[in-house]
């Protein structure tokens, strides 16, 4: 566990060190719609850009009114924290991220950049064709950057490594599904986030060891089982706070959580098509879930499957897609009797305020289980 935690805590260190060790190039990406396999096959290490809380005096000059994570990304890029990146790629998605991408593009002329149009209309019969066309463009760009063609077996290998990673991460979710979980939400999220920072081949080795460890582990006590919904996350502060109050997050529907690993690439002769189908077919982020609403139903199914007691919806301030999704999700959760608590967060988690919310929420949904100064909360008012 500590290994993963270290990766996450020093989220830029791994890539820097990898570059020194392997000598390869690093490709930074913004959201999880990037078909990483292509970059991996081209010998690059795809690394997810992670927001970080630190004093920010620069981003306001370049970007206005964005969410705090994107301000942080802008800040880090301008401060040169990401100067080890060789390339920066964005897929069509969050526009705040796009703004950060543009700022980087204009301020770091040496950075190789690419914009990949990922269809917002994911379920048209022509969407896959368009994505294949975009993948070919991306592939050509990667080949131009590296000066050599992406070999078929390299791509096969990349797809295999990524699929293995997804399978292992799914296995971790299976362990969380057990009635008495052997893994805490904060641990699982740490692994999840670390996997977006690491070379997947190495990650897979670590992960296998970790899963073996987990199988040996004694399960935790009966805890309130929660589901985490809302915007992407970059730290496990919230999970840890939840755990300190006697609950556990057992499943999530975050774009960089469960949705990142939920489906695998199914082998096809046409590899671009195989990748296109994988990414079009993944559980969608709020932004891409813009035609027929699929998220509410998926959330309900996960809630049933993981037998959750309630849901926490934590939306980043200024995250519009999630703001617009609340309506349908709240409605469905209410109709089906799944209690939820909604709150906004930014990069700082006001611990006390959140603790008060959570205490009240937990004692509402399972009064007997709340840990408040060693006493059980009375059942009635």
């Amino acid at each position: 566990m500590n290994r993963f935690k270290q990766i996450l805590d020093n989220h830029q260190e791994y890539a820097r060190e990898w570059k020194k060790r392997v000598g390869g190039r690093i490709l930074g990406y913004f959201d999880t719609y990037l078909p990483e396999e292509l970059a991996y096959a081209a010998g690059m290490l795809p690394v997810r850009m992670m927001a970080e809380r630190e004093p920010d005096m620069i981003s306001a000059k370049w970007i206005y009114s964005s969410c705090y994570p994107v301000k942080s990304l802008t800040n880090q890029l301008l401060l040169g924290r990401y100067d080890y990146l060789d390339a920066l790629v964005i897929t069509e998605g969050c526009q705040w991220m796009y703004n950060a991408f543009e700022v980087a593009m204009n301020n770091k002329p040496d950075l190789l950049t690419h914009y990949l149009f990922f269809p917002d209309h994911t379920d048209a019969p022509t969407s896959k064709d368009l994505l294949v066309s975009e993948l070919k463009v991306f592939r050509a760009k990667l080949e131009e950057w590296s000066g050599r063609a992406i070999a078929d077996d390299a791509l096969d290998n990349a797809i295999d490594v990524y699929n293995t990673n997804r399978r292992l991460l799914r296995k971790m979710y299976e362990l969380r599904r057990m009635y008495r979980s052997v893994i805490l939400g904060s641990e699982a999220m740490t692994v999840m986030l670390a996997s977006q920072l690491m070379d997947k081949a190495e990650m897979n080795v670590w992960l296998e060891e970790y899963l073996r460890e987990l199988e040996e582990r004694e399960p935790y006590d009966d805890r309130i089982r929660l589901m985490l919904l809302g915007s992407e996350t970059w730290s496990v502060d919230l999970e840890e706070l939840v755990e300190s109050l006697g609950a556990n997050i057992v499943v999530d529907d975050l774009d960089n959580g469960a949705s990142y690993c939920w489906n695998e690439t199914v082998a096809l002769k046409d590899k671009d098509m195989a990748l296109a189908l994988r990414y079009l077919g993944r559980p969608h982020s709020a932004l891409k879930d813009n035609n027929w609403r699929r998220r509410p139903q998926r959330i309900f199914e996960l809630a049933e499957d993981f037998a959750v007691d309630g849901a926490l919806i934590a939306k980043q301030i200024y995250c519009h897609p999630h703001g617009l999704d609340n309506y349908a999700i709240w409605k469905l959760l209410r109709e089906r009797g799944i209690p939820f608590h909604y709150f906004e967060r930014d990069l700082t988690l006001p611990r006390e305020e959140t603790r008060l919310r959570l205490n009240s929420f937990f004692s509402m949904i399972r009064p007997g289980l709340t840990r408040l100064a060693g006493w059980h909360t009375p059942m009635t008012i």
Partner: protein, 258 residues
């Protein structure tokens, strides 16, 4: 000729009298929203007393500040930017940049050699109220402003609060308080966050100034804040005496010049 400049700030009203261009008197008073006009009269009264003059001696009065249009007896109103630039030019002829950090607004101006304003940048609304916030927090922490001003700088790796929003900063402050972090450390963290916030305005001009930057406004009096600001920005500010009277001084100078 006697000219008067009155700066109708959000928290304080400041008055400055010039006798033939030489500073003759100053007066200050809490502005109190709706009572600005009477506060301004009182501040002016104070300045007149110091100068040994009477109201009838004043040849021309120019008002500036957020409430400049509330003053019925002003001959002219000028924006805060114009007044601040004038004051900076007077106090430091070589100034290339002036920053006016007050209760509510933070204004940064870059000047050319002749004192003309190249660029005027006002804080984002999300960064409003920094001065008032610090005072409010001092009150919450049961510190006087003097005590807050005398605090040592924040230690590296110590407590921090949100530097993006004063509303969130207050929540963080209360969390620190609940975790038994010493009040002085919390105050230092708040001061540092305010300095970071003010730095965003300083950075917002096309080419941020590095030298000969004049700091005006009430926050200039807060030593801990100035130290934090200098550490964060890397600028060594020119801090004139009575910097909080900058706007009023500029207005009085404009009354003389026009």
């Amino acid at each position: 000729m006697i000219t008067a400049g009155i700066d109708m700030g959000m928290e304080y009203v400041k008055a400055v009298l010039l006798r033939d261009g030489e500073a003759a008197g100053r007066g200050i008073g809490l502005s109190g929203g709706a009572r600005r006009e009477s506060a301004a009269r009182a501040a002016l009264e104070g300045a007149l007393k110091e100068a040994g003059l009477s109201a009838g001696d004043i040849g021309k009065t120019v008002a500036t500040g957020k409430g400049k249009f509330d003053l019925s007896f002003a001959d002219k109103q000028v924006t805060e930017a114009v007044a601040a630039a004038k004051a900076a030019k007077r106090l430091c002829p070589a100034a290339t940049c002036v920053m006016d950090a007050g209760c509510d607004e933070t204004l940064v101006l870059t000047l050319d050699g002749g004192g003309k304003i190249n660029e005027a940048v006002l804080n984002e609304k999300c960064a409003a109220g920094v001065g008032g916030f610090l005072q409010n927090m001092a009150r919450r922490l049961e510190l006087s402003l003097e005590e807050m001003s005398a605090l040592p700088p924040v230690a590296a790796g110590g407590a921090t609060v949100n530097d993006g929003c004063i509303v969130f900063a207050e929540l963080d402050m209360l969390s620190l308080l609940n975790r038994n972090v010493p009040v002085r450390e919390i105050a230092a963290a708040l001061t540092d966050a305010a300095a970071v916030r003010v730095c965003t305005v300083l950075n917002d001009v096309t080419v941020p100034a590095t030298d000969k930057v004049v700091l005006l406004g009430g926050l200039a009096k807060n030593k801990a804040f100035v130290r934090a600001l200098e550490a964060r920005s890397g600028i060594s500010f020119v801090i004139p005496d009575h910097g909080e009277y900058g706007g009023a001084l500029g207005a009085a100078q404009i009354a003389l010049d026009t």
